[in-house]
């Protein structure tokens, strides 16, 4: 890979790659642990997404700045130290901002350290690109991750508690579908979203095939 000359240009695709085509959750299936564990409400999902995005952007910047100094033998160790630093910063900041939120996310804040998305970005993008491009790419990945968590979190909160961001939506006669805020609900909703995206993809392929068929016919 290192022989291939990387393109230094920053395009819209640098950013959008993580949001859609290579969405960390729905396409690359990375970071499943926080995705399933803390998406029981939209607020938790948003906080987790924002925290991860910050770690992603900040660690990408540092890794990219030092990319020519880090010997390849110790690169993983160095990346982990850099990532762990920013996770600790997020940990303290979140405690200072809101204790209830910090307790709701629990150990999953510390576990951002081992989130594959971040190490994956450091290895695949930040260690080969200039700082600005790495940060733009990381921001896109972070946004993609946050949107994915939000799409799980809002569905689960809506069905499991009948509210969205803590605001009750269905009135008092709504009987909450409790399983949705429990762990099985995470798998069910994730499966639902994956099914939806796969259906979109298949339909698009069918259309392309159909169009080709028409020209050949």
């Amino acid at each position: 890979m290192s022989l291939i000359k990387q393109d230094d240009r920053i395009t819209l695709d640098t950013f959008l790659e993580g949001v859609w085509r290579e969405n960390p959750v729905f396409v690359m299936m990375l970071g499943m642990c926080p995705t399933l564990a803390v998406t029981n409400s939209a607020m938790n999902a948003l906080a987790m997404g924002v925290a991860t995005t910050f770690v992603l952007i900040a660690s990408s910047l540092l890794v990219s700045l030092f990319r020519n100094l880090i010997p390849s033998e110790v690169r993983i160790a160095t990346y982990i130290v850099i990532i762990a630093t920013f996770v600790t910063i997020v940990d303290y900041t979140m405690q200072a901002v809101s204790q209830p939120l910090y307790h709701a996310l629990g150990a999953f804040i510390q576990l951002i350290v081992v989130n594959c998305i971040i190490l994956g970005r450091a290895e695949a993008c930040a260690s080969r690109n200039k700082p600005l491009k790495s940060m733009v790419n990381a921001a896109g990945m972070g946004l993609g991750f946050t949107l994915a968590l939000l799409s799980l979190g809002s569905v689960r909160e809506l069905l499991g508690s009948g509210s969205l961001f803590g605001l009750p939506l269905f009135g008092e006669h709504f009987q909450p579908w409790v399983v949705m805020v429990l762990p099985p609900g995470g798998f069910l909703v994730l499966g639902g979203w994956l099914l939806f995206f796969e259906w979109l993809k298949t339909r698009k392929q069918d259309q392309v095939l159909g169009a080709e068929g028409a020209t050949h016919g």
Binding site: P71, V81, A84, T85, T88, I89, Y92, A96, V97, Q99
Partner: protein
């Protein structure tokens, strides 16, 4: 050649960890006051919830010599939180309990009401018990009812509880100082009982002689 790359490795890791240490210490220092303030507010809110009817609270520390002091940062001793009503009358005193549960410590704040010599409320403030089982200690109404009137009287000498607070098997509660455990969450129930007993055995003998002082203090 190889020593050169070794040096480069040591230098890189050394530099990165030093930078990391610097960043963490900076953020730790910057966020410390806000974190402590948040923790204080969270405890205050719990104290007002656990002491029924309390509208104001005051944080005291009982030091090693058994003296009652108004809490100030950096003081060592046992934390007690007095709860007063709107007229400034002492309703109860809250203290902290902690014991090992199924997967980590279960921390509680409980309210002691001097009028009846009993514990009148318990709130779990931190626990990492199994979701759906061990966390029933917070949500199970029958279990929470154990703490509406849990006897915690001192013995004749005033040095310990007359009857230790214990958790008993679900459905076999006979005495007012027993806690009816949740079936399926026995270890978590026992952890709460152990935390209460451990704290009450230590705090109440010190606290009871100081009650008149706490009553006199204005919130």
């Amino acid at each position: 050649m190889s020593s050169k790359t070794s040096m480069a490795m040591v230098a890189t890791l050394g530099f990165v960890t030093a930078l990391s240490g610097f960043l963490i210490v900076t953020v730790f220092q910057a966020t410390k006051p806000a974190i402590e303030e948040n923790k204080r507010l969270a405890i205050q809110q719990t104290v007002l919830e656990v002491i029924t009817g309390a509208t104001a609270d005051k944080h005291f520390i009982i030091n090693g010599q058994g003296e009652l002091l108004e809490a100030a940062p950096g003081m060592k001793g046992v934390n007690v939180y007095a709860g007063y009503d709107a007229q400034g009358k002492l309703l109860g005193v809250a203290a902290e309990g902690s014991a090992q549960g199924y997967s980590g410590s279960v921390d509680t704040i409980y309210a002691y009401t001097p009028a009846c010599g009993c514990i009148t409320g318990v709130k779990v403030i931190k626990q990492t018990e199994t979701p759906g089982l061990g966390d029933k200690t917070i949500t199970d109404k029958a279990f929470v009812a154990n703490f509406e009137h849990l006897e915690a009287k001192l013995d004749a000498a005033g040095k310990a509880l007359a009857n230790a607070i214990v958790a008993v098997k679900h459905g076999s509660k006979q005495h007012p100082w027993e806690i009816d455990a949740i079936s399926g969450a026995t270890i978590s129930s026992k952890a709460i009982a152990k935390g209460l007993n451990g704290s009450a055995q230590d705090v109440l003998p010190k606290l009871v002689p100081l009650l008149s002082k706490i009553e006199g203090a204005k919130p």
